[in-house]
Amino acid sequence: MNWAVVVPLIIFFFIIFGAGFWSLRFVKKSNQFLHEYFLGSRELGGFVLAMTMIATYGSASSFIGGPGAAYTQGLGWVLLAMAQVATGYFVLMVLGKKFAIYARKYDAVTLIDFLRMRYANSRGVVFISAASIIIFLFSAMVAQWVGGARLIESLTGLEYTTALFIFAVTVLIYVIIGGFRAVALTDMIQGIVMVFGTLIILIGTIVAGGGISAIITDLATENPNLISPFGHDGGLTPAYVSSFWILVGVGVLALPQVAVRAMSYKNARSMHRALIVGTCVVGFIMLGMHLIGVFARPVMPGIDVPDKVMPLITMEVLPPWLAGMVLAAPLAAIMSTVDSLLLIVSSAVVKDIYLNYINPDAEEKRVRRMSLWVTSLLGVAIFTAALSPPDLLIWMNLFAFGGLQSAFIWPIVMGLYWEGANKYGAITSMLTGIISYACIHNLYPHMLGVHTVVFPVIFSFMTFIIASWLGKEKELRPLKSA
């Protein structure tokens, strides 16, 4: 085992644990368990908010799969990745103040709470939302855990199963004991590690490659397409690359794990600050990480498993002790995504299903115990699923993101900004979004040359308008009699 690499990682794990235990004090003291455990009592300041959004969103795909794809595709993939600069400001500007005000008015703790209140307590809305959150995020988590375990495996030389076990136990412990506040705090630490990690690995790679000019010349000599916007084989068309603006740029506001953070800020000042910090940080990390992937090609040619590019290039260009410290960055990215997903799925089960429909009068103590058990059991289930890992990390992850976006984008956006939105529109558009996404994904991926997510988003928009309009008369009647 390479101790110079492992020791900094162990220190990192201990810091993360510390944040979990610190948050435990708040969970214990709070007399509103649900607000504290699932939302950190809406006390997030600007910096923590920005970092937790980025850390949650920047996952295994941005730190492992993304650089791997950039290694294969060249600068065209960095261009595609830069669509993500928009997530830094767009989510907060659009959900922004209105979502925060509604969330407080409705006393909403989860995204589903908001949708339930907005769409007249509709069981259909709650059921479809909860089901899609549980199914899609479960598959996203499996992909992330596999990523985390692979990373630990390649760093320490431990067996995959052991690596997965270490990863799972760490994440579970701090999520279970600390809840949302622990997740946000560890996200902040992880976000900072991500920023410095990106910077150091990038510099190391440029130095190892003999400067930017030399690297670009090497790439152009190997294959001129690597420095064009069109990818190594010319396969990245403008239409395809642009359509990623929906998937990784604007559509991100519909991801429950991101949207819920727009409920958690303390005040408008925190939100404003998060807007600026978020844009800087997300842009820097995305640019840096994907450039590392491209620059790694002339430095370490012939890596056949793209997912291994990041750990391999880091160990190649940095001294071992520094490699250990910065390799905590991708690990941090994965952990910080997983912890939020875990919490979102738990909240869907405990708050949205159990407390809404099974036992509305459950005592505080029972809810506490229930939350801890649900989170633990979910962890065990994901662990089991991740034992026989699927191959293509990035695509599984994007499948989950696209499915959730197709389902939630219009119920959230129209619910906030269109008076005429009603539950008929919400239910129809969610079903249309999910079903058309699944069909297109399996039958015609890249229909008309764009990413799979584009058409489901358009279809669900149209059905939302039509169904809301048709259902208008129906909805007015019970309101009048009430």
Partner: protein, 100 residues
Amino acid sequence: MSRDSNQKDPRFKIANREALIGVGVVLINFGWWYGFAYGLGSGSVEEYTYVFGFPAWFFYSCIVGFVVMVILVIIVVKYFFTYVPFEVNQSENESEGGQE
């Protein structure tokens, strides 16, 4: 809660305007990104010009584009975004009363 009270809430006028600004900013961002990438990058690779070692299309689209967006976001937030309270009780004190 009736829809009328929501429309009257003065905070929502601000929120709606800010959301529209967000859409405007993202359109500018996309235009810059797309224009420089495919405007400068579509020709043959042999004829590329370079800035700081990067192909010009990449430098202007991805690197300058990112810096421009950061500046734009700072300007928008400092000069066009308004502070509003989020709490329910605070808003009730401010509106003409009778809300909810």
